[in-house]
Point group: C2
Chain length 383, copies 2
């Protein structure tokens, strides 16, 4: 379903929809009378339902891990690592990925109709947290009859969900692979999100979040937010290597405000294409969920207590050029896990590509995930 | 003169104005029929005019190095390092600081009237470069009868001007102190500037730059630009130490989009106060001047050639926590100067406060500048 200028698709024919059967109570204390989760699966669930891997997506990701994305027509966002014979091997494992609560690809979010009024929620949608996202995923697994996950894996906000899963449902998580993530959102990261939100809210087409009823969308503000965020996903080195000061389709600077430099043209393109596939209010809600994430806060600010007595096996992965979720954040997770004598391996993977490295062709990442999952699968007696 | 919501002051009673007597030809080939530069001086010029130090300001700085700023009522931006008995000692030296060409504190810029039409220039103002800023400062020095500068000093964009001065007018520069700067603007830095410009341009009150005639100003867009930029001026550690995840005037998160976190409140304040003292079009022009800066580009892309045969003495200073102008950029300058056998000392000053460190209370910075200037002054036979 191609996007049009005044609507972002919120469902798609390829989605499988799970409707939560009772009102869903959120961390804020508010509840959603009705809510649904859109998800995809790949591979085959085995007879004893022991080969399921939950993939958790990042801020602007969705359930389209593999295959053609119904809006963009592009490949799924994690084709690099998932598929037949790949580390997240659809020949061996049953992969599940759900659009997060608050998202805009079929799961209930601020772009959904409020069942009490029939109107689009907008800002009347209650704030959701990473824990809420995970809780509704747990209900999806109940629905699928999957008691234990062989693994939960994800990068960035996906990694936050991985940590939340391991903390909240330790009996259900055989292994956990948090990648390029943190146990709490840093001040700098909250700051970047706040700028993005202010860019959206400064757009007069946002209308206090009520744009859906006004046949308009704050595309300019959302594009600016995306441009700013995109810089944080790449390393200084990656930008230097990819663009440097190269000019875009010209031999000299224009002495003006055109996109003289390739990096400018690239960022403008990123901003413009993003608004065709993402809803501005969802961007506000999901960034806020990340800001609020601080898993130790529910455990007397002692991170180790969030994982006390866990039998989950962890593989924590970071990239040294990732300045948004630097290795120090992963080390803090590892230290906490060590303090609870959890079984944890930690791999810092050489890459100069910054935070985005987890989405890219990174052979050492693939080898690490493959080896870890293979050992977990063997331990669990999978063929 | 206090700012009102619909005007940014472009002159102030404390300004001294220098009018360039003939049309001023810019690097772009265009020329300004008339142009003026607003500047301040502190200290006393000695009889042989050998104790003058030119201070070059950063992107959003101005000529108010010392004393009360006429718009904000705050202290001058470099009170930390300049004044009686301070490293930039007004008891010994004659300090000069001029608002850059393209700026909005009295120097000719996009907010000035076009003498041909009487209308405010807006985007019809020609693009200016760092070299243009320096060339017009050179004319100011001619006007003041100052042939040689004891030193040129500045941080960030001020440091770019320092390098440009040393390259363009080597005979006029006894010593140069470029701080927290680079010989070219990096891809990442161009990227951040482009996001800021797009935020301004996305504001419908910008009106293609013609807001002056419409009694409006793109304050929301400019505030977003400033918020984003401000993050880049501080280090992750500085943000963590100053704000962490501390909440603003509340005991718990609000589950909403208020400024729950102190960092959010701080950034919003930075954005809101900035728009009272800075003109949006000037922000576009001056950021663009920085983007275009690449001093080697005029020298076959060989940085050393920009300083070939120089007799200027350099003191290059960087801060390890500055990720906007990292130490590697300063090292590149030092390597080029070494290659030309220029006299250069290089000091990386321990500070966890990021790019902004050059504006802050940093005793090692002060000691370095004081010692360097004292030795230069002695060498020049100053009492």
């Amino acid at each position: 379903m191609p996007a049009t200028s005044n609507s972002v698709p919120t469902t798609s024919p390829a989605d499988t929809i799970f409707e939560v059967s009772e009102p869903f109570v959120l961390a804020s204390g508010e509840s959603l009378e009705r809510c649904q989760i859109a998800y995809t699966t790949h591979g085959t669930l085995n007879a004893d339902k022991s080969n399921a891997i939950l993939i958790c997506h990042a801020l602007t990701g969705d359930q389209y891990v593999l295959g053609t994305h119904p809006v963009t027509g592009k490949d799924g966002w994690w084709e690099t690592i998932a598929g037949p014979g790949k580390p997240l091997d659809t020949d061996r494992y049953f992969l599940i990925c759900a659009n997060v609560l608050g998202g805009c690809m079929g799961s209930t979010g601020p772009g959904s109709p409020n069942p009490s009024t029939g109107d689009i929620y907008g800002l009347s949608f209650p704030l959701v947290t990473i824990a809420d996202m995970v809780d509704v995923q747990a209900k999806l697994l109940d629905h699928l009859g999957i008691e234990r996950l062989l693994a939960v894996v994800g990068g960035s906000m996906g990694g936050m969900q991985v940590l939340q899963w391991a903390s909240r449902y330790p009996q259900r998580v055989v292994s956990a692979i948090p990648i390029a993530t943190a146990a709490k959102h840093s001040s700098q990261n909250i700051a970047f999100h706040e700028v993005g939100r202010q860019a959206v809210m400064a757009d007069p087409d946002w209308h206090g979040g009520r744009y859906a009823g006004l046949n308009t969308r704050p595309t300019k503000g959302l594009a600016v937010a995306r441009m700013g965020a995109h810089i944080t996903y790449m390393s200084d080195d990656a930008l230097h290597n990819k663009f440097g000061r190269s000019l875009q389709n010209r031999s000299d600077i224009s002495f003006g405000f055109d996109a003289d430099f390739q990096i400018e043209s690239y960022l403008r393109h990123q901003g413009m294409t993003f608004v065709d596939r993402f809803d501005a209010n969802s961007y506000l809600y999901v960034t806020r969920a990340m800001d609020y994430f601080d898993i130790a806060a529910d455990h007397d600010d002692i991170l180790a207590r969030a994982f006390e007595g866990t039998s989950t096996r962890f593989c924590v992965i970071s990239f040294p050029s990732d300045w948004l979720f630097p290795t120090s954040e992963s080390r803090a997770i590892v230290h906490a896990l060590n303090a609870t004598t959890a079984k944890v391996s930690f791999v810092e993977i050489e890459s100069d590509r910054g935070h985005d490295a987890f989405l890219l062709e990174e052979p050492e990442l693939f080898a690490t995930v493959r080896a870890f999952l293979t050992s977990i699968a063997e331990r669990e007696g999978l063929a």
